[in-house]
């Protein structure tokens, strides 16, 4: 599956990874690492959701279900003490993909807002399972007692820098993988489904199967985001699977722009920065955040990332 541009994407990713690894050397405070890990985890969640929203036109309100499933499965596997971290991650991704397959098979048959509602219903169902199955999940108190991080292949993730490096590597690998799908013929088939489903059907695309395929892939990627966050906070909580988490991911997409591949990541970065800065200065962050959203939506009428990108492209054209 070599496509033109893969080498360049890989190079960009490698450069990105190098940058991520160098940054903490330039600014050695642990606060920066903490911040970037959050951006990576939520960025991955938002980017994976955008495979549905921006690429396929499927507005899922229930994507956080797979985020939570990733965090919980990984946490439970590690707490069992029988597997190493890489094995647990692979098993978690596979397990979540299976859940997404079952739920997706029902959901992708519905269109538009009905799709949104049924994904929301399934997410709330999973959230209520997490809350009620106390003996397994710890209920509303979450997975207690920390998630152990036993060393593997000589890497000790209890070390702050090692954990950060590991998260960055996993994150960049996932981004590269999603970029592959975004640019692949399959990705273009999904764009066609978004813009004109009957035409897609006409040219011989199995619309339901294609939608299900990307639904499962997006779910699997979201589970990796959940793993990263669980690894970092050393726990998993029902809030991961609540509708507010899904809502935030949607907000990140809108903030960055849904038609840009990295848009959601920009959005995640901006939202985390905004959230972090505003909570420092005021407890009325809801008021501030609400006003900022209104300004962006009513003022720019598109994502900040998309807006900047357009400005840049226009300026470059003018220069030519």
């Amino acid at each position: 599956m070599m496509r033109p541009g893969l080498a360049r994407d890989a190079a960009v990713c490698a450069a990105g990874l190098a940058l991520l690894l160098v940054l903490p050397l330039a600014f050695p405070q642990p606060a920066l690492r903490d911040f970037l890990i959050y951006v990576m985890a939520y960025g991955l969640l938002a980017m994976s959701l955008n495979l549905l929203v921006g690429l396929t036109g499927l507005v899922s309100f229930g994507h956080a279900a797979y985020f939570a499933s990733g965090a919980y499965m990984f946490g439970l596997l590690m707490q069992s003490g029988r597997v190493s971290i890489p094995v647990a991650i692979v098993a978690t991704v596979a397990g979540t993909a299976l859940i997404a397959l079952v739920i997706g098979a029902i959901c992708v048959r519905l269109k538009e807002i009905y799709f949104s509602f049924i994904t929301l219903a399934f997410q709330m169902f999973i959230h209520s399972i997490i809350l009620t199955w106390v003996s397994l999940t710890g209920g509303d108190q979450g997975l207690m007692g920390g998630i152990p991080r036993p060393p593997f292949l000589g890497i000790n993730l209890n070390e702050g820098t090692a954990l950060y490096g590991f998260c960055a590597a996993v994150f960049v690998a996932c981004v590269l993988l999603m970029r592959q799908v975004w640019m692949s013929p399959f990705g273009y088939a999904l764009r066609l489904i978004r813009d004109n489903p009957s035409r897609a059907n006409f040219v011989g695309i199995d619309v339901v199967r294609a939608k299900l395929g990307i639904f499962v892939f997006a779910g699997a990627m979201a589970s990796v985001a959940g793993v990263l966050l669980a690894l970092f906070v050393s726990g998993a909580y029902p809030e991961f699977g609540f509708w507010t988490t899904s809502g935030e991911a949607i907000f990140m997409i809108m903030l960055g722009g849904s038609q840009l591949f990295v848009g959601p990541l920009v959005g995640a970065f901006l939202l985390q920065l905004l959230n972090r800065t505003v909570t420092i200065y005021t407890e009325h962050h809801g008021l501030v955040l609400g006003l900022v959203i209104l300004l962006i939506v009513l003022g720019l009428r598109q994502g900040v990332g998309a807006f900047l990108f357009e400005r840049l492209a226009r300026r470059r054209q003018a220069r030519r």
């Binding site: 807002i113 009905y114 219903a121 809108m254 008021l287």
Partner: protein, 301 residues
């Protein structure tokens, strides 16, 4: 599952009366919230995710008016009209600018509205629990009926909701304005071409929809605790009701709200722990079998 208890209740008039009244209490308030949501969706084609915040504002407006005047009538009107006005302002300043964009834009501005409303309430009224208290007119012992008990205030609440629901139905189905609104839902360009000011109509419909949320808030204020963020749980429930009943259908909203009321009241006796699961399951089944809901129209396309 406890079917014996359920059978025992159904065969006793006292239990039956009390539980049916419970179903109506839960259901009718839910109906008040949902009817506004449904009306706005039916006519404007947008989902007002900020509806729960309007419900909260209704309760707080009523509380403020009641503290000032000690009159429940004034409190009720303040809640209803205040939120109706707020809805019109919100529609004109914010919502009207995202008509025709995708649902995500609407979701975002409503999310912003919820955040702002919660914080403003916290700043103005404080973070503590607030309770309006029962107005003196209703401070009566519960009414006894066939051995069952129904509190006087709830009788009023059920009656008022029914009356408002009826007025709404008459207004939409029997008046000229109602006819125009129904036409607006189906073909706005045509209505505009006939020289009717659709901008005004949209604002009006959004205002009435919000007013219904305000009514629900004002009716709930004497018996429920007021806190910032109280709109969230009712929003989720009313979405379930809207989806089951059919988006845009007032009658569907009534049926679905009562369905939930009865499921809650009798579920509490028969299978208390599965009531919530039942709601989600019902919603999923409805979406799969008939996505437009019990009484919803299929989308025009």
């Amino acid at each position: 599952m406890n079917l014996d208890a359920l059978a025992g209740c159904v065969s006793s008039s006292a239990c039956l009366v009390t539980q049916i009244s419970t179903a109506l209490i839960v259901g009718m308030l839910l109906f008040m919230v949902t009817s506004g949501l449904s009306l706005i969706f039916g006519v404007l084609g947008i989902i007002n995710f900020a509806h729960g915040a309007f419900y909260m504002m209704g309760a707080y407006f009523a509380l403020a008016a009641y503290q000032l005047t000690s009159s429940f009538a004034v409190a009720f009107l303040a809640g209803a009209l205040g939120v109706g006005l707020l809805g019109i302002v919100f529609e004109r300043l914010v919502m009207s600018r995202v008509y025709g964009t995708d649902v995500l834009m609407q979701l975002l501005v409503c999310y912003a509205m919820i955040l702002i409303a919660d914080d403003v309430v916290k700043i103005v009224f404080g973070p503590e629990y607030k309770m309006m208290g029962m107005p003196d007119a209703f401070a009566l012992p519960p009414i006894e009926l066939f051995g069952g008990f129904i509190p006087a205030y709830y009788v009023f609440m059920i009656g008022a909701s029914l009356l408002i629901g009826l007025l709404l139905w008459l207004g939409i189905n029997k008046t000229r304005l109602g006819k125009t609104i129904r036409a607006l839902a189906i073909n706005p360009q045509m209505v505009g071409a006939l020289g009717i000011n659709t901008t005004l109509l949209y604002a009006g419909v959004f205002g009435i929809g919000s007013l219904l949320a305000g009514v629900a808030g004002a009716l709930a204020a004497p018996t429920r605790t007021l806190t910032p963020g109280m709109g969230v749980s009712i929003l989720i429930e009313s979405f379930i009701v809207t989806v089951i009943g059919g988006m845009g259908s007032i009658a569907g909203a009534l049926i679905a709200a009562l369905l939930i009321g009865f499921a809650r009241a009798f579920g509490a006796i028969g299978c208390p722990l599965f009531v919530d699961g039942l709601m989600f399951a019902l919603m999923a089944v409805v979406l799969v079998v008939k996505p437009s809901g019990l009484l919803g129209r299929e989308p025009a396309r």
